[in-house]
């Protein structure tokens, strides 16, 4: 069925019918989604994480809701309207397709999938089932990234020439070290740099070609570090840096240079708090708190889109396009050659 499972929403009415949400994947992202839904007044029905029952129990103890023994059991619950899929990337396709078949709207974490084939199958399954599919490209909801996009769109910086993005920190310890497995995670270019790739595409349009290099193809035992050069059809040149090789605090930064101005941002240079204690000398805790967490803004946008039937700021098609660029970067890093992104047929 298209649109909301409830009646048409009245925008003036600030008491929307709450969506009832299931979380599939009880790791860190699952916790984040659940807390955000609760802050938005949505109802958390429960969680499923069959590979890690202990995680599921901890999740329910902390946040409430049921523990479902399997994904199928969660999806069979008729009261659930929406599921968040926060499992490792290789499992996205199976879970999303099952959720679509069960008639649930879906928020799927990024990257949408590990392959374009998977992404296309997921988009088709949701379209055929008449359910909404959203992808967690949350950087579009970070105020610093919204702000400079507005400045760019207004022409404050003139004609944009060179854009640089940075994202990364220490290597994440995923479930069964799945981040380290290029086949499963796609590595930095697919898992982390994709955030900036989506934001860049939002700002500057379609990418014409990419050239990328990664330590993964040269020193695979070291935590990954990758650099990609994106050339946009509009003429913008972007430099994308992704790192799991920086043992310090997580960093995200950008620089946008145009004919009329430069904008720069670095979360570490503009940290909200920097805390140090005598007990742990040398340990510097740098944090960048928000009034409203970007994840919350993102999920609020998705919830509103479900309730109103309108588009969200970022769509599954955007996620698929970002994945395509990331995969092209992976190929470039593998071959040492630039990769052109040919225009795809409308039927794709």
């Amino acid at each position: 069925m298209e649109g909301s499972t409830h009646g048409p929403s009245n925008k003036e009415d600030d008491i929307e019918m709450a969506l009832r949400v299931g979380i599939i994947g009880a790791g860190g992202m699952g916790h984040g989604h659940a807390r955000a839904y609760q802050a938005l007044g949505q109802e958390l029905v429960g969680v499923a994480d069959p590979p890690s029952p202990a995680n599921a129990e901890r999740f329910a103890a902390a946040l409430g809701g049921k523990v479902f023994a399997s994904v199928e059991e969660l999806l069979a619950d008729p009261t659930i309207d929406l599921v968040s899929v926060t499992v490792p990337t290789p499992a996205h396709r199976e879970v999303v397709c099952k959720a679509a078949a069960a008639g649930k709207h879906i928020v799927c974490e990024k990257p949408l999938a590990r392959t374009l084939e998977d992404a296309d199958a997921m988009i088709a399954a949701c379209r055929d089932a008449g359910v909404r599919l959203f992808a967690g490209h949350v950087v579009r909801y970070f105020p610093e990234y919204e702000h400079v996009k507005s400045a760019i769109d207004r022409g404050d910086l003139g004609q944009i020439g060179v854009v640089r993005t940075t994202r990364g920190g220490s290597e994440p310890t995923g479930f069964q070290s799945w981040y380290r497995d290029l086949d499963r995670s796609g590595g930095l270019l697919v898992d982390l740099a994709i955030h900036d790739i989506d934001w860049l595409r939002w700002c500057f349009g379609e990418v014409e070609r990419v050239y990328a290099t990664s330590s993964k193809t040269r020193v695979p035992e070291s935590p990954e570090y990758a650099l990609a050069i994106l050339r946009f059809e509009s003429g913008v040149i972007a430099h994308v840096e992704g790192s799991w090789a920086h043992p310090g605090p997580f960093r995200y930064a950008y620089e946008v240079a145009g004919s009329k101005g430069v904008a720069e941002f670095d979360n570490l240079r503009s940290a909200g708090i920097v805390a140090q204690t005598h007990e742990h000398p040398g340990v510097v805790q740098s944090e960048y708190p928000y009034v409203e967490q970007p994840l919350l803004s993102e999920l609020q946008d998705f919830v509103r889109a479900i309730q109103s039937g309108e588009q969200a700021r970022v769509t599954a098609e955007d996620a698929r396009a970002a994945l395509r660029i990331s995969l092209a970067c992976l190929e470039s890093a593998r071959t040492g050659q630039p990769v052109w992104l040919k225009k795809e047929g409308a039927a794709q």
């Binding site: 020439g161 060179v162 050239y211 290099t213 040269r218 050069i229 790192s243 430069v262």
Partner: protein, 330 residues
Amino acid sequence: MKVGILSVAHGHVGSFAACLKRLGVDVTAVYDHDEARGRAFAERIGSQFYASRDELLAQPDISAVGVYGENALHAELVIAAAKAGKHVMCEKPLATSRKEGLAMVEACRKAGVVFQTFFPCRWLPSVRRAKALIESGHIGRIIAIKGTNHGGCPGGWFVDPKLAGGGAVFDHTVHVTDLMRWITGSEPVSVYAEVERNRLSKYPIDDAAMIAIEFADGTFATLDPSWSRNSAYYKTWGDVNMEIIGTKGTIAVNGVGQGPTYYTEALGKGREAHTAGNMDFGCVKAWVDAIQTGRAPEVSGEDGLKAVEVALAAYLSEREQRPVSIREVE
């Protein structure tokens, strides 16, 4: 020791003269094809102006010259100086073609004179400290380097391809390429570049670019030479930065950004001052030491050529739209 200057086109010539003065070395002669420009400079530093290059080079008491002309004129000035038996310091980028650069290196070699490229960044304290840390094994084996040498569009002869040989790519690739060569101890083998013209400035010359360099030892690097800083930007000279990734850790090198930032109404904007030490002085002193001791300079004309090959390769890569081998550069 007495030094002459062949052309004062490049802004750094003032610093060159000041550093020599500090070393107690006299700059006694200045030549420039632009007589008005040359005379004004000669007067400023208390030197004699020569309207004829060869007349200056014929002075027996001058043992060395600094070549600070427009890029396209470096070759003829350096080769003439070598033939006259003078030691040479040459501004970057060394030459506008590999052929030119090889001729310059050969002329100096044949004449047995010291030939140094003006690469002051090797004497930045943060760069030298990073090199020492790396040599001690602190971050293990180098995997990658992300470099930037941003600048603002200098205008003038810098945007005339006939005089400059190229725009931002030509102007701002060589400093950090030289540092990358020095830090890795390895040589660039291939280059891929994205280059845009008339994008950030009003001039039909390259001002926006991104260069990817592969080194023989497997290190991969990117370098941003863009003239992407406008008049409102506050940092010294743009920047000279490197992020060096090793198997055991990382080092972020802040080259020319160590110092206070001033915000004054007179200037109407912020202005960063680099106060960690004078890199030009280290570079000039090394040249003078090489001349006086007969030992090879730390950075040679050949180093200048190797760096410029990467810039030339970047233009070739832009034309061919593919990675190019350094060996393809002419």
